[in-house]
Amino acid sequence: MNRKKANFFLLLQLFVTFTALFLCLGLNLKKLGNYFRPLGYRYEDAWLVVLDFQHLQDEKKLEFSRLIQQKLRAVKEIELVSATEVIPFQQWGNEEKITYNKQTSKALGFEVDENYSKVLGIKLVEGRWFTEKDYVLNAIPVVLTKDLAERDFKQGSPIGKTILIGDKPALIIGVSEAVRENTGADLNPGFFIPLKTAATSYLLKSKNTDNFQLLEDQIRKTINSVGASEILIRQNISLTLVKKYAQKTDYIQLSITLLVFAFLLINVFLGISGVFSYNLSKRKAEVGLRVTMGASPADILKQFLLESIVLTTLGILPGLLIAIQMLIMQYLDAYYGTLSILGAALFLYLLMLSCAFYPSLKAARLNPSDALHEE
């Protein structure tokens, strides 16, 4: 293997590592940043009940659903009940087409009831939440999330304006704070509309969050008291626990990614160190010559470290072009994409310098008369 060949492998390794590092950072940095952003709701005193109506007919489902809600409201420990198919950390909205002023865009539709905002403490920025009275209107009452309002209604307030959801008219009656599905999720513009079908999930706001066992028992007894053997309780837990389970999956994924990545980096470190040491071992005579010509040990160290910086720059250059192209094509968020480029480049420079330092130091300490005879 000659020096050019060895350098080619080094450059190839640098290019692949930079690209992998950039992609890994690009995909995970944003998620990490999301952990520090508000969710837009409170989950701490909310409780989740998910039922399975099995093969019950729609009419029966609606009837039982209403009855269950009524009975749950009567439980002393429960302050509020919301029937919904939108459950934080577990099941989020569906993508819908919305049209305003002949401009069509996409947003997440959240089918919830009139109590949803109260149960989760979702704050309104302007307007109001829908009530049962709104259900009889010709247009669907809709509450936009703040990010959707900002995206689609740049000039003025959207309150009182009519949009199309799919092909159905909807009247905007309020704007709420932006909400996110879970701690790592991106902000996704969305809107709240009344639930049309029988709910199988219920979010409850409890009065006493300390005694979870009691609450769980009360809920189970209440649902069983309806007397429908077809109804099964799938979930009966606090939303805090739902969040914990969801995060556990996130942490496992992150840990696996980090482990794989650490393993790759160790390989890359060993690979680069090996190639660099090999290259320098083939240049002992050159080191001897340079020292003979007047290079000090510091000059030799500086030369090889500088060479490692030049090699790193050459190696990451094609990767950098790919990364910039990805940012231009908007495959990655501009802020986090730029941060990922800088992070990946900085990391590789440090990695390369640390790989180069020891062999360079060894070269700088060579005895020139011995080194000259290494050719």
């Binding site: 010559l289 020292v291 003979t292 007047g294 000090s296 000059d299 005895n367």
Partner: protein, 222 residues
Amino acid sequence: MIQLSNIEKVYRTKTIETTALNHINLNINKGEFVAIMGPSGCGKSTLLNIMGLLDTPTAGSIEIANQPVTSLSRKRLATFRNLKLGFIFQSYHLINDLSVIDNVELPLLYRKGISGAERRKRALVALEKVGLSARTKHYPNQLSGGQRQRVAIARAIIGNPEILLADEPTGNLDSAMGEEVMNLMLHLNKIDGTTIVMVTHDEHMAKKTQRIIHFFDGQQVS
């Protein structure tokens, strides 16, 4: 110019002790052209390395250009070598990845306060002196042995050293090219007044110098 007093060089391993130089006392005057001769392994090259500050003696002291150098740090030794000494080797020791002119410029890279343009100018002058000004952009592997050695001489003289140390400079060359290189060194000694110490096996070349020192078994015999 070069004063060696009681120089001793001993190579030690766990089991063997080899004396390469045994109590060498040598004085080389300014402007002198001296040849060092002797059989292989007699310590000629070791002596040249010690004179060139590339190796340290086990005992004894060295003075070059009226300056004691034995206790200088590696950094100061490097600066001293760069300013005062020029080296020519049997196997040329050119860097194949660098062009002829870049090879010649090398010593000036380690000298402070010399601009790139100045380096280039001085490299051209040095190459002109050795008759290779038309080969500046060539690479070492595109040159003959004699041309390579002339590039090495240009590199050795670019910094205007007071002393040239040549380790069998004609050893790898045929007689015609060897003659050419020898004449060049004689010219440098005569015209520029450079002190030259040359290690050689070639009696014919040695006879052209002002003084021949013979070595045997690490000792100066004449």
